[in-house]
Symmetry: C2
Subunit: 145 residues, 2 copies
C-alpha cells in the first residue's frame, strides 16, 4: 500500500473487519474520498490484520469510539505532509450515544421519540441502557450514523 499525504491510517484492524470499518465511516458508493484497504495482510501482533487509509480526512472521536467496538486493537495514525503527526490506540468508551440503533423495535430510543440511543460498552458487546437489549454480533449492522 502506498503512502498518503494527509489523512488517517487505521492500522491493526482484526483481519476481515475492514468492510465494517468502511460502513462505520459511511464510505460507500456515494463517497468520493480516496481510500485504500488491505485485508488479511500478515501481522506480527495479530497474525493477520486489515488496514484502511483515507486521504484528506481526520476521524472524529465519535467515529473512533465506534471503530473501537469492532476493532479494539486498532491504532489510528493521523498523517500530515506524508508523516505520522499523531498516533493513538483506540480506547473502548464506557458508553456510545447516538451511533448505534437498538434492535428492539419497542425500545423508547427507536419509537420516534426524541431520545438518542445509548449503549453501555461490555467486554463482548453493548447493552441498551433503556431496554437492556444486548447486542454481541454484527455491531456494524446496527450503526445509525
Amino acid at each position: 500500500m502506498s503512502k498518503i499525504e494527509s489523512g488517517t491510517v487505521i492500522d491493526h484492524i482484526a483481519g476481515g473487519h475492514a468492510p465494517d470499518v468502511l460502513a462505520i465511516l459511511g464510505i460507500d458508493s456515494s463517497t468520493d474520498e480516496v481510500v485504500s484497504v488491505g485485508m488479511n495482510v500478515p501481522s506480527d501482533r495479530l497474525g493477520r490484520k486489515d488496514v484502511v487509509k483515507i486521504e484528506g480526512r481526520e476521524l472524529s472521536q465519535d467515529e473512533v469510539d465506534v471503530i473501537s467496538l469492532i476493532a479494539p486493537a486498532a491504532s489510528i495514525n493521523i498523517i500530515r505532509g506524508f508523516a505520522v503527526a499523531e498516533k493513538n490506540r483506540v480506547e473502548r468508551p464506557d458508553f456510545v450515544e447516538g451511533v448505534l440503533s437498538c434492535p428492539n423495535r419497542n425500545c423508547i430510543s427507536t419509537e420516534g421519540e426524541p431520545v438518542a440511543s445509548r449503549f453501555a460498552v461490555l467486554d463482548d458487546g453493548v447493552r441498551c441502557v433503556y431496554c437492556e437489549t444486548i447486542v454481541r454480533e454484527q455491531l456494524a449492522d446496527h450503526i445509525s450514523v
Copy 2:
C-alpha cells in the same frame, strides 16, 4: 497497490462501488483471503474508479455476472505467476438466477418453495420473472449468495 502473484484483479469498477463488489464476493469478517482495494483512484476512462485485487482466487462466471450488474464497465484480469493470464470485460447477462433475492415477500421465489430466484436484466435494474418486481437501486442489498 502492489502486484499479486495469482488471483483476480477487478478493475474499472465505478468509483465507490468496491464495497458492493466485496459483498457480492462474500468477502467479510469471516474471510481470510488477502484482498486489497483502491477506491476513487484517478482513471482516464471513468474519471475515478475502484480496483479490487484478490489473491489466490479466480472468480466464477456467476460471480462475474452479478458484478456486471453494479459495475458494467469492469474488467476482470486473471493473474498467474505475476502476469495477466486472461483479461475480460464483464458482460451483462440476460438473466441472473439464484444470486439475488426478490424483495417481494409474497413472491413464489421467497416463500420457502424450492424455486430459485430469476431476474431479467434491464438497462437500469433487474425484474423478477415470477412477480415482475423491479429492483433498480442498491442491488448489492439483495444478494443472496
